[in-house]
């Protein structure tokens, strides 16, 4: 998962050609090994128990969110504070389109496989509008306005009861005709990889350069002929699109949707904490850390039931500590270690 500078001398061999191709989509050899491990994990005891597979699914789901979130937070330095709500918008759109039961107002009965994409597009369009409205202003406007839109979306879901059943929640149909968790795990893993690779391709293109320039020094970027607003809006909309897409998976995997558990601001903060602890602007940092984190959190939750919310306090403390003491996060630590090792090799 890590994209580190590879030695150029390998390029001639076929192995070198493959690593070069992998590098273009942001996967280093070490990253590839980790990916394979993560993919095989649910086949190996003790991870093959159903509840463990569910944790893995949760991990991959959070990892994918972290990538999409970091795409805006790490690259154009704008925090999409309505991320969870946009995810929920995608989930609800897909769930309503797939509805067949007469409890709700409409029964389109669309296949979830199509609905997920429509949910993604709806979330992307809302992100586009929101970005167009706020991203010509300072970044804090976008963050606060996204928060407002997020709260409004949650309020709408709660209030439009004939469409969403409000706080009672919806029970959308499942994506697959099975009760096993394993197929879902591979679906979300593929989705996670798709998010990573497509966003990597964007950041490796001239768009990525523009994002970096905007994130670092807006005036200099503008002087170089970059239209910051256009790039920022594109970035924001793309991230929202992926949020909606992942929301569709949530809806049709868990089969239960309530505004509070999905769209609340604290859900955005959880992803945000992951991204910061993993290393902002690295894309892989949050993805990497999501898996061990879910296991750690779920372990705490199931073993310390007399201390509700302890895992959330740890989330917050870790995030604040990382921000103040080591703003580069895990990815920064990794890069530093790689530099050190290289330095040792050169001198010796």
């Amino acid at each position: 998962m890590a994209s580190i500078e590879m030695e150029r001398k390998n390029d001639a061999s076929p192995l070198g050609a493959i690593t070069a191709a992998m590098k273009r989509i942001g996967i280093s050899p070490l990253g590839l090994v980790l990916l394979v491990v993560v993919a095989l994990l649910p086949l190996i005891p003790p991870f093959n128990q159903e509840h463990m597979v569910r944790w893995l699914i949760m991990g991959a789901f959070l990892a994918a969110q972290a990538i999409a979130f970091d795409f805006t937070a790490g690259y154009i330095n704008v925090v999409n504070f309505g991320f969870a709500a946009l995810l929920g918008l995608g989930a609800y759109t897909s769930a309503i389109l797939a509805n067949k039961s007469p409890v709700l107002m409409v029964q389109p009965g669309l296949s979830p496989w199509i609905g997920i994409w429509i949910g993604a597009i709806v979330a992307g369009l809302v992100g586009l509008g929101l970005g167009w409205l706020t991203l010509r202003l300072r970044g804090i406007f976008a963050a606060v306005m996204a928060w407002f839109v997020g709260i409004a979306l949650m309020g709408l879901v709660r209030n439009l009861t004939p469409l969403t059943r409000g706080p009672l929640g919806m029970n959308p149909s499942s994506l697959l005709n099975t009760t096993a968790n394993l197929p879902y795990y591979y679906i979300i893993l593929i989705m996670m990889l798709a998010v990573y690779v497509s966003l990597r391709l964007v950041t490796e293109s001239h768009y990525g350069l523009a994002f970096k320039a905007i994130g670092q020094n807006l005036d200099a970027a503008r002087a170089s002929g970059i239209n910051p607003t256009r790039y920022r809006v594109f970035n924001f909309a793309l991230s929202s699109l992926f949020a909606g897409w992942l929301g569709g998976f949530y809806a049709h995997y868990y089969g239960s949707l309530t505004p509070q558990t999905l769209m609340h601001t604290s859900k955005t903060v959880e992803v945000l904490a992951l991204v910061y602890i993993g290393g902002r602007g690295s894309m892989w940092g949050g993805m990497f850390i999501a898996f061990p984190f879910v296991f750690f959190i779920e372990y705490l939750r199931s073993n310390l039931t007399e201390l509700p919310g302890l895992h959330l306090v740890i989330y917050g403390l870790l995030m604040v500590l990382v921000m103040i003491l080591y703003p580069d996060g895990l990815a920064g630590l990794y890069n530093w270690a790689v530099e050190k090792i290289k330095g040792l090799g050169n001198s010796g």
């Binding site: 409205l133 202003l137 709260i151 005036d219 306090v313």
Partner: protein
């Protein structure tokens, strides 16, 4: 009073010659009259009381943003801390008063609770600033606003969940501070608690105004908000101004949490709604604009009452959708904000922070 007239004249100056402000304030006044006719004068008095509190909260938010460039997201948690402190100070006194009544203590105990909350806010503010914002300032080279914002998000997350962890999620509230019958104002009966809460808000705002205008330290705070580097060159110590500003804002939020304990109660997530409305006020009035935040507080309170009061139903495909009512309180502000951002991005009274446009 000199300071009050200068506050008034600044308000007048803000309102005249500003089309957007005139339109919004005019509409609000009309709306207030309509609310008075439809919902009775008690509704109007309610909005004024709420408006005072939103103003007090928003002033703190505007001050912190103006002086420290921190978009404060943990302001609601200061409100929460204030509510808890007031509860834990007031409740034991109140229980002991039941056994041996004491009129003097009965009258002063609520003020004692509020004072304790304000002092707790001051201390919390200084601790947070020294412990978290100071090291962050040393670490941050660029993108301070966004980093500070995220830090406050983290603080809010820790305080909310930490409170749940230690005190539990249950509500701790009091029915009223003063066991006296409501006051008769014309044909309307208003609870004494509300009137006192309103006056506490107004007195605090005027006192802050006086402090910022008339004292040396207050002028130093305003100097920092205008030009940090210039202020430093004039010998102003930022390591004194920043903790002071943050402590003042936190204390004001804690004070409003304490004085509204009878309305909101104390529970871990009580701060979310006040935070939301304070941000609404600040965005509407203009980021960092302290005077604008005072007027904005009342505008938002009137809009809020209007949202609660006017409901209508829309029928689509045989299903009834109710629009308006208290459940729409979260939805309407977003639409208002969208219009504001489209027409006057720097807020109706103009932002006093350098550059609303990204630079």
């Amino acid at each position: 009073m000199k300071e009050q007239s200068s506050l008034g004249s600044t308000l007048v100056k803000k309102l005249t010659g500003n089309l957007a402000a005139t339109i919004v304030v005019g509409t609000t006044l009309v709306l207030a009259v309509v609310i008075g006719v439809e919902g009775g004068p008690s509704q109007v008095i309610n909005s004024i009381v709420t408006g005072g509190m939103w103003a007090l909260l928003a002033v703190g938010l505007a001050l912190v943003f103006g002086v420290m460039n921190v978009p404060h997201f943990a302001h609601g948690e200061s409100f929460m801390v204030g509510a808890y402190v007031a509860y834990f100070v007031f409740n034991p006194i109140h229980t002991s008063l039941k056994e041996n009544p004491n009129t003097f203590l009965g009258v002063t105990a609520p003020f004692l609770a509020m004072l304790a909350a304000a002092v707790a806010g001051l201390i919390l503010g200084v601790i947070l600033e020294r412990l978290l914002f100071y090291p962050l300032r040393l670490k941050t080279k660029s993108g301070w606003v966004m980093n500070a914002f995220l830090l406050t998000v983290g603080i809010s997350f820790i305080l909310t969940n930490g409170t749940t962890l230690t005190l539990g999620p249950n509500f701790r509230g009091i029915p009223r501070y003063w066991d006296v019958p409501p006051l008769q104002v014309g044909s309307v009966r208003v609870a004494v608690d509300r009137i006192i809460a309103f006056f506490i808000a107004i007195i605090s705002i005027v006192a802050l105004w006086f402090f910022l205008r008339q004292t040396r330290t207050g002028r130093a705070i305003r100097a920092v908000s205008q030009d940090e580097l210039g202020a430093q060159m004039m010998g102003i110590n930022l390591n004194f101004i920043y903790p002071l500003t943050f402590a003042l804002a936190t204390a004001m939020a804690a004070l409003s949490g304490a004085s509204l304990l009878f309305m909101f109660q104390a529970y871990p997530t009580v701060g979310l709604k006040p935070l939301y409305f304070a941000w609404y006020v600040v965005m509407l009035a203009g980021l960092g604009n302290v005077v604008g935040a005072i007027v904005g507080g009342f505008i938002v309170a009137v809009l809020q009452s209007a949202t609660q009061l006017f409901t209508f139903t829309v029928t689509v495909l045989g299903h009834e959708f109710q629009i308006g009512g208290i459940a729409w309180e979260d939805v309407i502000p977003t639409f208002v904000m969208i219009i504001v951002l489209l027409v006057v991005p720097s807020g109706i009274f103009g932002s006093e922070v350098k550059g609303v446009q990204e630079q």
